[in-house]
C-alpha cells in the first residue's frame, strides 16, 4: 500500500514538473536591428538606469509607445517598460491609485483628477506632457471615390444625420467632378467611451457652424450605428458600401480606407499628413501652469495647411515624490520618447511627431522632474 501511494504522489509530482520543464528556459527575442547588442548596455552608463517601469492608459497611443519602448530597449537593454492600453480613464485612475508609475491619457488631467494625482505624488503636482499627435481621419467607403473633400459644417451635418444621402448638394459642391451615388450614408461611431470621440466632437462643435447640436463627450451623441473600438469602426466601413466613420489615422491606413481631405476654411483642402497635423498643433495654446504642458487645441483653426482634427495624447507623471529609482527610470524613458530618435519612429506608424519647439518644452519639463 505504501509503495503504491508513493508511486501515486510521485506520478503527480513528475507530471507537474514535466509541464514546467516543457518550457524551462526562455529568453527575450534578439532585437531586429542588432548592431551591437553587447556593447550598447555597457557603454550606456549613467543615461540608462536599471529596473521596471509600469504604465497604463490611452489605447490611442499604444502603437506609438510600443514602438518607442522597442527602440528604447535597443539603447537601454536593462530597463523593462510595460504599457497597458486600457483606456485614458483607467490609466488616470490606476496612476492616482499608485498602481502605475506614469499614465497615458488623451485628455489633460481635470481639476478633481489633479487633486487626486497631487495626493498620489506625495503632495507634489502631476504634469501633463504632450507626447504624440494622433490625427483622426474621416474615412469613407464609396465605390469609385478615391479623393473626397469635406468641410466642418458638412461633416457635422453628416454625423448629426441632417445630410442623409451621398449626392446631397452640400457634398457635391465640395467635390466637383466626383460622381456620388444617391445611396443613403451609413455612419459608424465608437460605441465605447473614447478620447477619439471626444476630440472629434470637439472639432464638429468648433467648426460645424452650429450644425452639431450635442456637447463634446467621450460618448457619441450623433447618428449612426455603434461599433466597438477603433478596429470595429474601421472594419465596419471596410465591409459596408457607402459608409463613413471617424477613426485614428493608422486604422484608416491599415484597412486601406479612403481618407477625406478637410477644407478648414483656408480655401484649399488639406490632405492628412504628419506635417499638416503638426501644423494644427502649432495653433494650440498652452492651458497648464508651471511645467504642466496641457494644450488647448484650436479645432476651428483656419491656418493654411493645418489639418484640424487631431488629438494630443499625454503622459502624466509626478513632478516629485516618486522613489528615486523610479524617478530615474521615468526621466530616462520619457526623455527618450520626446527626443528626435523617439519621435522619428512615429511617422511610419501614422502618428505625427511633436513640432520642434514643443519637443524642447516637454524635454525641459521632464528634466525638471526630481
Amino acid at each position: 500500500m505504501s509503495v503504491n501511494s508513493l508511486l501515486r504522489v510521485g506520478s503527480v509530482a513528475v507530471a507537474s514538473l514535466g509541464v514546467l520543464a516543457l518550457s524551462a528556459c526562455g529568453s527575450d527575442p534578439t532585437p531586429s536591428g542588432s548592431s551591437s547588442p553587447s556593447g550598447s548596455s555597457s557603454s550606456a552608463g549613467a543615461e540608462c538606469p536599471q529596473g521596471t517601469l509600469n504604465a497604463e492608459g490611452s489605447s490611442a497611443q499604444k502603437n506609438a509607445i510600443d514602438e518607442v519602448i522597442s527602440k528604447y530597449n535597443e539603447k537601454c537593454a536593462d530597463v523593462t517598460v510595460n504599457y497597458n492600453p486600457t483606456g485614458s480613464g483607467a490609466g488616470v485612475k490606476q496612476f492616482n491609485a499608485n498602481q502605475v508609475d506614469f499614465a497615458g491619457s488623451d485628455s489633460a488631467l481635470k481639476p478633481d483628477e489633479m487633486t487626486a494625482a497631487t495626493k498620489r505624488c506625495a503632495g507634489n503636482p502631476a504634469i501633463d506632457l504632450p507626447m504624440v499627435i494622433g490625427p483622426v481621419a474621416i474615412a469613407i467607403n464609396v465605390d469609385g471615390v478615391s479623393k473626397f473633400i469635406l468641410d466642418g459644417p458638412t461633416a457635422a451635418k453628416i454625423f448629426q444625420g441632417t445630410i442623409k444621402t451621398w449626392n446631397d448638394p452640400a457634398i457635391a459642391k465640395l467635390n466637383p467632378g466626383v460622381t456620388l451615388p444617391s445611396a443613403p450614408i451609413s455612419v459608424f461611431f465608437r460605441s465605447d467611451e473614447s478620447g477619439t470621440t471626444e476630440n472629434f466632437t470637439k472639432y464638429l462643435q468648433a467648426s460645424g457652424g452650429g450644425a452639431w447640436t450635442g456637447a463634446p463627450a467621450k460618448k457619441w451623441t450623433g447618428t449612426g450605428a455603434g461599433k466597438e473600438k477603433s478596429a470595429g469602426v474601421a472594419e465596419g466601413v471596410k465591409s459596408t458600401k457607402n459608409s463613413i466613420t471617424y477613426v485614428e489615422w493608422s486604422y484608416a491606413v491599415d484597412n486601406k480606407l479612403t481618407i477625406a481631405q478637410i477644407d478648414n476654411g483656408s480655401g484649399t483642402p488639406i490632405e492628412l499628413t504628419a506635417d499638416s497635423a503638426g501644423k494644427a498643433l502649432a495653433a494650440a495654446k498652452p492651458a497648464g501652469t508651471g511645467t504642466d504642458l496641457a494644450l488647448k487645441l484650436d479645432y476651428a483653426t483656419k491656418a493654411a495647411g493645418a489639418y484640424p482634427i487631431i488629438l494630443v495624447t499625454y503622459e502624466i507623471a509626478c513632478t516629485k515624490g516618486l522613489p528615486a529609482e523610479k524617478t530615474a527610470l521615468v526621466k530616462s524613458f520619457l526623455s527618450y520618447f520626446v527626443s528626435k530618435d523617439g519621435q522619428a519612429s512615429l511617422t511610419d506608424l501614422n502618428y505625427a511627431p511633436l513640432p520642434a519647439e514643443i519637443q524642447t518644452k516637454v524635454d525641459a519639463a521632464i528634466q525638471a522632474i526630481s
Binding site: 526562455g26 527575442p29 510600443d66 519602448i69 523593462t80 486600457t86
Partner: protein, 306 residues
Amino acid sequence: MTAVAENKPAYEGKALDLSGKSGSRAFKNTLATVLIGLAFVLAMIPLVWILFTVISKGYHLLLSADWWSQSQRGITVRREGGGAYHAIMGTLIMSLITAVIAVPIAVLGAVYLVEYGKGTRAARAVSFMIDILTGVPSIVAALFVYAVWITIFGFNRVGFAVSLSLVLLMLPVVLRSTEEMLKLVPDELREASYALGVPKWKTIMKVVVPTAFGGIVTGVMLGLARVMGETAPLLILVGYSKNINLNPFNGFMGALPTMINQDRTELALQPAADRVWAAALTLILLVLVLNVLARLIARFSSIKSK
C-alpha cells in the same frame, strides 16, 4: 432502427399485444433518434468549427521553437517574431499557485462533508455556500479580491492576486467533484476497515482517498482547465507584460488570455492576427495536455490496476 430491434425482446414478455401498434411506435422511435442525432450534430458544429479555425490559423507559429522559448519584448504589432514564453509561464505559474492553495482546501473540505459532517447543519451550510460560489462570475471574484488586496491592504496588482481570485473559482469545482468521488466509495470498504480495528482517520487516508484518487485528480485537472482560460481576473488584478516576469509577487505578468486580448484590436495587421490565433491555440493545447495528464494519472494510480 437497430434500437427498435434491440428493444423488442424486453417488451415481449410483458405486453404481447403491442405488435399491432408497431407502426406508430417505430415512427416515434425514428423521430426521437433523428432529433437526438440532430441535436448532437448541432452541438458539434461550433466545436469543430472553432477547433478548425483556431488550428488552421494558428498552427504555423507554433511550429517554430521561438514561440515556445521567447517573449514579446520589443515586438510591436507590425513586426513578426517573438514568442509566447512569457504568457505560457505566466499562465502556468498563476495556475500552479491557484492549485496549491485551492486543492488542499477543496479536498479536505470534501472529506469533511462526506466523512464527518454528513447531515449536520454545518455541512449543509457549507454545501449551500459552495453551490453559491459555483455560480459566482469570475468578474465578481476578481473585484472582490481587488477590494481586499488593493483597496483595503493597499498592495499592488500582481500575479498572486490573480491566483487568489482564481482560487475562488477553482475551489467549488474541485470540492464538488471530490465530494462526488468520495460518495462513490462503497461503505463496505469503510466498514471492512473499521472491522479490522483501523481508526477513522487512517481509514480515510489509506482506504477512502486512495480509492477515489483517480476521480479526485480528474476533478483537479478540470478545475485547472477552467481557471486557465479566465480573463476577467487577469484584466483587473495584473497588468499585461510582454516581458518575462517569473515573480508572482512583483510586477506585471503576461498570460495567454491577456496576450490574446492585447492584440485583438489590431487584426488588420497580419503579424498581430497570427499571434492572436497562435496564442488561442496554445491555450487550448495547454488545457488538452492537462486533461490527457489527468487521464493518465487516473489510469496508472487507480486501485484496480494493481
